[in-house]
């Protein structure tokens, strides 16, 4: 009986003790971060003798910081923002005092070390102190540092966002050469600038095949319009003439075929070419001209520019049903549409009172906004393979150069393309040429 009384007493004691210690819980929802940028700090590069004693590590560090500057979702912090200066004694987590980094609101920290031709680079998350990226590169000479830095940043971007199209893709663009225009390719950071055509005349409107194996373009010369196709494997290009003497804005569809504007019936309509380069029926026939097709990744949607209702406006062709829908209603001159890979966004150039500007239209939300603001003219927008970055040509700095922004209209950065005007950029999922 005594034992039972004890058990009872203990039970009651337990219940009331639990009650005394119990605290209420409330549950809330937070939708979306207030800050869309994460803070990242690159610690001073270290050599065998401490910070700054390895030239290759210092060079690599500078390149990494330059690359991060292209990523609008990252804020590059500086050492003077950290209380007490460099909080590290080495490259690994145990060598880093994370407290001042946390106080400085640093989300990620990069450590870089170098010895001879070897480079080590790591990225840590500052609260959990977990290693997110750890890479070692050997036999790196000074000329190879930018390429290695790009690879490292591609890996960092992949870990943070799941995507790395910005670093893994290549731009093809038109550039003035000897009074004409030829096509060049370079990475999104301007690395590996290479002239890929030498056709004479004016090569314009490049478009990458989805696998990066070919570039289609228009060659304009005294022989009229010709469709050009450059082969990456053969490193040469072939030109083809079509009836009607017009071949404008050729574009690769996701299945590898080419859609191009031809004038087979007296005015330019868009035709899909078969494997033998024979045009099928007009894709969105009308009495007005239709040019500049652009496809989503599924190939079911195609946006294009057409004057079927008067001035040039952007239209959407639903290839499954064949219906054509007008996309732009503002402005009287909307041209050069580019459809995002997911088919949700269209970027295009609009003639405004201040010149040409780039606008984006969300086809789901049915909203539109301006993403470039000059000065000069901003033209030829093109989505990157992730549908996040937008490249375009602009005369804002004198001459025409290629710039990159995002679909949110982040500050545009110029892509180095060497001397001479560069325009009509097109993104492709292809590694840069050697």
């Amino acid at each position: 009986m005594k034992r039972k009384t004890w058990i009872l007493t203990c039970l009651l004691l337990l219940l009331f003790t639990a009650d005394a210690g119990a605290a209420d819980i409330m549950s809330f929802d937070i939708f979306g971060p207030a800050q869309n940028k994460v803070n990242i700090l690159v610690l001073p590069a270290r050599g065998p003798g401490g910070p700054g004693t390895s030239a290759i590590a210092t060079s690599f560090s500078n390149q990494v910081q330059n690359d991060i500057g292209y990523l609008p979702f990252m804020h590059l912090a500086y050492m003077n923002e950290i209380l007490g200066g460099d909080p590290s004694k080495g490259l690994k987590a145990d060598d880093i005092d994370f407290k001042p980094l946390q106080l400085g609101r640093i989300d990620f920290v990069v450590t870089i070390g170098g010895r001879g031709q070897e480079i080590e680079a790591r990225v840590y998350e500052t609260y959990s102190r977990k290693l997110l990226v750890g890479k070692a590169y050997s036999q790196v000479d000074e000329s190879g540092v930018p390429h290695v830095a790009d690879r490292f940043c591609a890996q960092l971007m992949r870990v943070l966002t799941g995507k790395s199209g910005f670093f893994d893709s290549t731009l093809a663009f038109s550039k003035r050469v000897n009074g004409g225009k030829e096509l060049f390719t370079a990475s999104a950071l301007g690395r590996g600038l290479t002239q890929i055509t030498r056709d004479g005349g004016f090569n314009v409107s490049p478009s990458w095949a989805k696998d990066g194996s070919r570039v289609a373009y228009t060659n304009i010369s005294d022989k009229g319009h010709r469709l050009g196709i450059w082969s990456r494997a053969q490193r040469n290009s072939q030109l083809r003439k079509f009836p009607g003497n017009v071949a404008i804005s050729p574009t690769f569809a996701p299945d590898g075929r080419i859609a191009v504007s031809l004038s087979l019936n007296g005015h330019a309509d868009i035709y899909m070419l078969d494997a033998n380069m024979h045009p099928g029926p007009a894709m969105a026939p009308s009495w007005g001209i239709s040019v500049s097709p652009s496809f989503d990744l599924s190939g079911r949607k195609m946006v294009f520019c057409s004057g079927r209702l008067g001035g040039p406006q952007i239209f959407l062709l639903n290839r499954d049903g064949g219906s054509v829908q007008r996309i732009t209603y503002e402005g009287t001159y909307n041209t050069r549409p580019s459809l995002s890979p997911d088919g949700r966004f269209v970027v295009f150039a609009r003639l405004t009172g201040d010149g040409q500007r780039i606008f984006i239209r969300d086809l789901v939300a049915n909203q539109e906004r301006q993403i470039t603001f000059g000065p000069g003219n901003d033209e030829d927008p093109s989505f990157d393979p992730d549908g996040y970055f937008v490249s375009f040509a602009s005369s804002r700095n004198g001459g025409t150069k290629i710039f990159v922004t995002t679909r949110y209209g982040d500050a545009a950065k110029q892509i180095p393309t060497g001397a001479g005007d560069a325009m009509a950029p097109a993104w492709g999922v292809a590694p840069a040429l050697d």
């Binding site: 009872l8 819980i25 937070i30 939708f31 800050q35």
Partner: protein
């Protein structure tokens, strides 16, 4: 043998009764989900107070003390929580009787209906009617008050030094601000159940709707706003939503004493960003309910679709 069975039965009966009593005391509601979509006018405890001294009506009992019966709180619960009801003080201000059991939103009409019996009770000191105050919409006033409080508390939390003194000073920031604002409006806007700490809804937040009182909701709004302002993450590359649930422990002064992920999003970088947001916040306004020690925050990467 028979005695032993009876004894066991008796003890079992005692244990079950003890459990029942404990359950009644605990009120079976440790976790509440605050519906942030609830419109602010759902704070239904506002009525015109005929009393001369408006401050009296605002003073609520501290949480844990003898609970003042809140409007919308079931009478059975109140009875269970107060086994020995304190004798009513003769000079005490008449407390509006909780006649309604339903916890739905109270319409404007119902508030008006409650005014009448109050007036009858207070015939001796007739409250001078203030026509200017009648023109004010209670929704407008409360909205404005809460907006100001949110703004002030946010500013304070930014500037406040994390000293115990400062924390104590800001203990009743929300309630204090509300009281001050009501006074500045002429002092005749009151919460029938009292909106002081532990007032409306008491410790268990049994205000209208059963999801916590309007004050608790506004506290939730302030908390989410402050923590969200410290949350950094890139939405780039994430087409699908990520959700992580973070448990945050706070002390009665609102200081965040710990935070850990109780339900992972499956993405460790995202999870870490939520912990960083909480730890960088450091201090929240003191909770309106002193027994509130834990917050569960569901961090959604993507904003709500509009």
């Amino acid at each position: 043998m028979e005695d032993s069975r009876r004894g066991t039965g008796f003890i079992l009966s005692l244990v079950l009764h003890a459990l029942l009593v404990t359950a009644g005391v605990l009120n079976f509601s440790f976790t509440r989900s605050v519906d942030m979509d609830k419109p602010m006018y759902s704070v239904d405890l506002v009525s015109l107070n005929p009393s001369e001294d408006p401050a009296e009506g605002e003073t609520g009992e501290a949480a844990g003390g003898p609970p003042t019966l809140a409007e919308g709180q079931p009478e059975e619960q109140a009875a269970a929580a107060t086994p020995v009801p304190p004798p009513p003080a003769p000079s005490a201000k008449p407390v509006p009787e909780p006649k309604r059991d339903d916890s739905k939103l109270i319409s404007e009409k119902k508030v008006e209906e409650k005014k009448k019996p109050e007036k009858k009770e207070e015939k001796t000191p007739p409250a001078p009617p203030q026509p200017a105050e009648k023109k004010l919409s209670k929704e407008d006033l409360l909205k404005q008050a809460l907006q100001d409080v949110q703004k002030d508390v946010k500013d304070k939390s930014k500037n406040a030094k994390p000293t115990a003194k400062a924390a104590d000073g800001g203990k009743d920031a929300v309630a204090g601000e509300l009281a001050a604002l009501r006074k500045s409006r002429g002092g005749n806007i009151f919460t029938a159940g009292g909106t002081g700490p532990g007032g409306a809804g008491g410790g268990k937040g049994t205000g209208a709707g059963g999801h916590g009182s309007g004050l608790m909701s506004s506290y939730g709004g302030i908390v989410t706003q402050i923590i969200k302002s410290h949350w950094r993450n890139s939405t780039f590359g994430r087409e699908s939503n990520l959700v992580a649930t973070l448990e945050i422990n706070i002390d009665p002064q609102g200081k965040i004493t710990g935070a850990h992920v109780v339900k992972s999003s499956g993405n460790q970088i995202f999870d870490a960003s939520t912990v960083r947001a909480a730890m960088e916040t450091q201090n929240l306004p003191p909770p309106v309910n002193k027994t509130l020690g834990t917050l569960h925050l569901n961090f959604n990467l993507q904003d709500m679709l509009k």
